[in-house]
């Protein structure tokens, strides 16, 4: 059974601080995605990581992928209140005929002013 685990599940951090969210998965895959979800809203794509060692950055967020360790990280730099949301990683185990996404448990981030 495929497992996609995130930690921490809940994160409360002060503005200006740095922190990392971890995503571990239990099967072989070199494709991983990060999504953001605001309360009551749908999922917004943040990053697409398609190979071992991939690193993507957008603003205060940086995501990386280590396929050998089956680990992805989402690093938050100098957090601001607007980053408060739930963050999900999703592992893609599909092949060339299409994607098959399995989501992690989510990390609920609250940035305190």
């Amino acid at each position: 059974e495929l497992k996609v685990e995130q930690n921490p599940l809940f994160l409360s951090m002060q503005e200006g601080k740095n922190y990392t969210i971890y995503c571990n998965y239990s099967t072989t895959s070199d494709r991983l995605y990060w999504y953001r979800q605001d309360p009551g809203k749908s999922l917004e794509s943040l990053f697409v990581l398609l190979s071992n060692g991939a690193v993507k950055q957008e603003g205060r967020l940086m995501a990386s992928l280590d396929t050998k360790a089956r680990l992805s990280t989402l690093h938050i730099t100098a957090a601001v209140h607007d980053l408060s949301a739930t963050y999900f990683c999703a592992v893609d185990i599909g092949g060339h005929t299409g994607n098959q996404f399995y989501f992690g448990t989510g990390t609920s981030l609250t940035v305190i002013p």
Binding site: V4, R31, Y33, Y35, G40, K41, S42, L43, E44, S45, V48, L50, F88, A90, D92, G94, H96, T97, G98, N99, Q100, F101, Y102, F103, G104, T105, G106
Partner: protein, 115 residues
């Protein structure tokens, strides 16, 4: 900007009643997904279509849930009869078939409350 359309946005139904959700994916996207998201959890895949064919419905409770995508475009997810435990957000997503990989694009979801 193209987006995945879902309706209704909210639905309240009594248990044992039938309920249906509709999804129109981004034009040209061959793959369509239905996910269920229980409050506080990650989305769980219910069914995945490639054009009009079901690719994966292993997590779909087939005794009460059904899904179809007859013409390979829009899709309907039905629950009959609804149970209290079905209260959740139902998310539709789509992605193109491609030899390079892309993320799934999600609709706004249908929030179902069964009373």
């Amino acid at each position: 900007e193209a987006e995945v359309a879902q309706s209704p946005r909210y639905k309240i139904t009594e248990k044992s009643q039938a309920v249906a959700f509709w999804c129109d994916p981004i034009s040209g996207h061959a793959t369509l997904y239905w996910y269920r998201q229980i409050l506080g959890q990650g989305p769980e895949l219910l069914v995945q279509f490639q054009d009009e064919s079901v690719v994966d419905d292993s997590q779909l409770p087939k005794d009460r849930f059904s899904a179809e995508r007859l013409k390979g475009v829009d899709s309907t997810l039905k629950i009959q009869p609804a149970e209290l435990g079905d209260s959740a957000m139902y998310l539709c997503a789509s992605s193109p078939i491609s030899w390079w990989n892309t993320e799934a694009f999600f609709g706004q979801g249908t929030r179902l409350t069964v009373v």
